[in-house]
């Protein structure tokens, strides 16, 4: 089963390397990874999707938490969470096809963000399924390039833990 995990990590050089190295070494199957700053300076939040049964996911979580720079890892798969992905899609479109593409884009609440003489660049946000669907529908026009961020996730309602610095006396 696919699990979506959200990690809070210290924003220090090499942290991503440590995490990815761990995935490789312990042969965890990681499908996507998105990372950026959090609300707290010095702390990044990372969302990643891992394939595995409950026991594997439990190990992923614990092994990651064992890394000194990883503060917390939470499996949000079973929780009421908003999970979104952003994709940029360059699709071939000339003449009357431009209108058809624009219609699909409209239906999916996506946007055309760049126009070239024979192609359009579409920006879409949503669940992975929604992005996949739009891609399927655009395929007949001829897709030239796709860039996807991988999902990011946030649990509904709950405020995140405050990150306290545990100072050794």
């Amino acid at each position: 089963m696919r699990h979506t995990l959200v990690a809070a990590v210290e924003d220090k050089p090499g942290v991503l390397n440590r995490m990815v190295s761990l995935f490789r070494r312990r042969r965890y199957n990681i499908e996507s990874l998105a990372v950026g700053h959090s609300e707290t300076p010095g702390i990044s939040r990372m969302t990643f999707v891992v394939e595995g049964d409950d026991r594997v996911i439990e190990q992923v979580k614990k092994q990651l938490e064992k890394l000194v720079n990883v503060i917390e890892v939470r499996d949000v798969t079973g929780e009421p969470a908003v999970i979104r992905e952003l994709a940029l899609i360059r699709v071939r479109a000339t003449g009357e096809q431009r209108g058809e593409v624009a219609q699909l884009v409209e239906l999916y609440r996506a946007r055309v963000v760049d126009v070239d003489h024979d192609s359009l660049m579409v920006e879409v946000t949503g669940t992975e399924e929604k992005v996949n669907h739009l891609i399927t529908l655009l395929e007949p026009f001829g897709i030239e390039e796709i860039v996807r961020t991988g999902p990011v996730a946030m649990v509904r309602g709950a405020r995140p833990k405050e990150f306290r610095m545990n100072v050794l006396k």
Partner: protein, 561 residues
């Protein structure tokens, strides 16, 4: 007052109470060694960086303090790798300091540059590259804190050469800021109570004690618990010494070369209290058939060890010592007469004494047992890896906690001699013996020079069978005696020792064993005894890899023939 980076390193080490550093100098640590004479720290100059890491590891295990090693950049640093990995697998608190090329040329493939933080990433608890002198003191403070707290382990600090020469004001930080690091984990009270209930209700309970009990200083409580409830105790290799080897409740080591009584008890018990152990495959055999009738209670300080290899029925994350101290008052006295009687019958059946009764051949088990007899089981034993290590674990009955130092997890040949150097430096008043095979000794034999230079009175027993014996045993049992790449043509080790300035003795007959051991004990300085033992002696019992613990190959009984 301003300090150079090199001075900050030494001042920090002094502030942490470091008294000795094991290492080798070099171009990228020359500022560091240049500043050394101004500080009250002993520098033990090793002959190879791998040995420096093992020595620091041995020092750490013998003293319970952080062991420190130093190496230069590039090959100096990469030579540490085996030693760091050894310490990592066995949770030994180690600080490895390496020099790095100057910051402006980092990343340019400069002379003797290597990405040692990248290389050691998966074999350190944490590591650092310091490229700004401002970070140096804080980094060292964190490194010591990480190495010694929680589940201990090695930390590497790589210091760029320009940082060593740069200057800044120095004050050693009082605390660390590591928001993602939680070393203190008090075992939850409710779970301790649940464990006590399970233990009190059990008819056939067994304690499996690992290294964590020794690291946490919980051995006395463990023995008290065993005695109160009449609960037998099996140990892992690194747990040896938790309970005296001659204690009636001690079953000895469990696992691949564990005793018959320990393995049978694991397979028959109704409650397994596993404390401070990670269920290594060498302990469990096939994990699916491990302790099939038992409710398993697993106590470990590292949450990631819970459920990794064996799924417990009750999991307690916490310090083994704190757990045992909390559990002890809740444990009810018991007699468990039937259970103990059954275990005694297994002990009688084990055939443990068979190799000791062999009169004609010089068997390695006899050699180990005679060393045990002569030292009353009370000296510090440092063993290498392979048959010699297993025979020691079986035939040297350790009376004292922490009296065995060995490479358990990584199984590093060449570990014993340098680790013993570190152990002897850390405990100058303790008698230290090295048990090593003819294969392993040659992997770090250059350290005999360090032994002499430092004046260390090590007693070195080479169990010489002319083979890489453990692999030969596997070839005999599983590969149709195809002794490929295991046969060694050795030098005369006694003469090699003499060339280094160490007393060398040679033993070929059974009756010479006691005399030689006595001579070693009466010699003030270091002694090496080359025991030419039976070449094809095997380590039994043995559980073949991946097989259940119930399937043990036992020593042959002579009267059957």
């Amino acid at each position: 007052m301003k300090r150079t980076g090199a001075e900050i390193l030494w001042e920090s080490l002094v502030a942490e109470g470091v008294e000795v550093v094991f290492g080798i100098c070099g171009g990228a640590v020359i500022h560091i060694t240049d500043a050394l004479p101004r500080y009250p720290i002993r520098f033990v100059l090793m002959r190879h960086e791998q040995a420096a890491a093992h020595a620091a590891d041995g020092y750490a295990r013998a003293t319970g303090r952080v062991g420190v090693c130093l190496a230069t950049s590039g090959p100096g640093a990469t030579n540490l790798v085996t030693g760091i990995a050894t310490a990592y697998m066995d949770s030994s608190p180690l600080l490895a300091v390496t020099g790095q090329v100057p910051t402006p040329v980092v990343g340019t493939d400069a002379f003797q540059e290597t990405d040692i933080t990248g290389i050691t990433l998966p074999i350190t608890k944490h590591n650092y590259l310091v490229t700004d002198i401002f970070d140096l003191a804080r980094t060292l403070k964190e490194a010591f804190h990480l190495a010694r707290t929680g589940r201990p382990g090695p930390v590497l600090v790589d210091i760029a050469k320009d940082v060593q020469a740069a200057e800044t004001g120095f004050s050693y930080p009082e605390g660390v800021e590591l928001p993602g690091y939680i070393p203190e984990r008090p075992p939850p009270e409710a779970l301790v109570r649940r464990a006590a209930e399970l233990l009190n209700a059990a008819e056939r309970p067994l304690i499996l004690a690992g290294h964590g009990v020794l690291l946490a200083g919980g051995h006395a409580e463990l023995v008290a618990l065993a005695e109160r409830g009449k609960i037998p105790v099996a140990t892992t290799l690194l747990g040896i010494g938790v309970i005296p080897g001659t204690h009636p409740l001690s079953l000895g080591m469990a696992g691949m070369h564990g005793t018959l009584q320990a393995n049978r008890a694991i397979q028959a018990c109704d409650l397994l209290l596993a404390v401070g152990t990670r269920f290594d495959d060498r302990v469990t055999g096939n994990p699916r058939t491990f302790a099939p009738h038992a409710t398993i209670v697993h106590v470990d300080i590292d949450p990631a060890e819970i459920g990794k290899n064996v799924a417990p029925d009750l999991a307690i994350v916490g310090d083994a010592g704190e757990f045992l101290r909390a559990l002890l008052p809740l444990a009810e006295p018991g007699d468990r007469r039937d259970w103990l009687a059954e275990i005694e019958s297994w002990r009688r059946e084990s055939g443990w004494e068979i190799p000791l009764q062999e009169e004609e051949k010089l068997l390695p088990q006899y050699v180990i047992h005679e060393i045990w007899r002569a030292t009353e089981g009370k000296v510090l034993m440092v063993t290498d890896v392979g048959q010699n290590q297993m025979w020691e674990a079986q035939y040297y009955l350790h009376e004292l906690p922490g009296s065995l130092i060995t490479s358990g997890g990584l199984g590093t040949m060449g570990f014993a001699l340098p680790a013993a150097i570190g152990a002897q430096v850390g405990r100058p008043d303790t008698q230290v013996w090295v048990i090593v095979g003819d294969g392993g000794i040659q992997m770090t034999i250059q350290e005999l020079a360090t032994v002499v230079q430092e004046g260390l009175p090590l007693k070195i027993a080479v169990i010489n069978n002319g083979f890489l014996g453990m692999v030969r045993q596997w070839q005999e049992l599983f590969f149709d005696r195809n002794y490929c790449a295991t046969c060694l043509r050795n030098p005369d080790f006694a003469r090699v020792a003499e060339a280094y300035g160490i007393r060398g003795l040679r033993v070929r007959q059974r009756h010479e064993v006691r005399v030689a051991i006595q001579e070693a004990l009466e010699t003030e300085g270091p002694v090496l005894i080359d025991f030419h033992v039976e070449q094809e002696a095997n380590v039994f019992p043995m559980v073949a890899p991946g097989r259940p613990l119930s399937e043990m190959i036992l020593p042959e009984r002579k009267e059957a023939r």
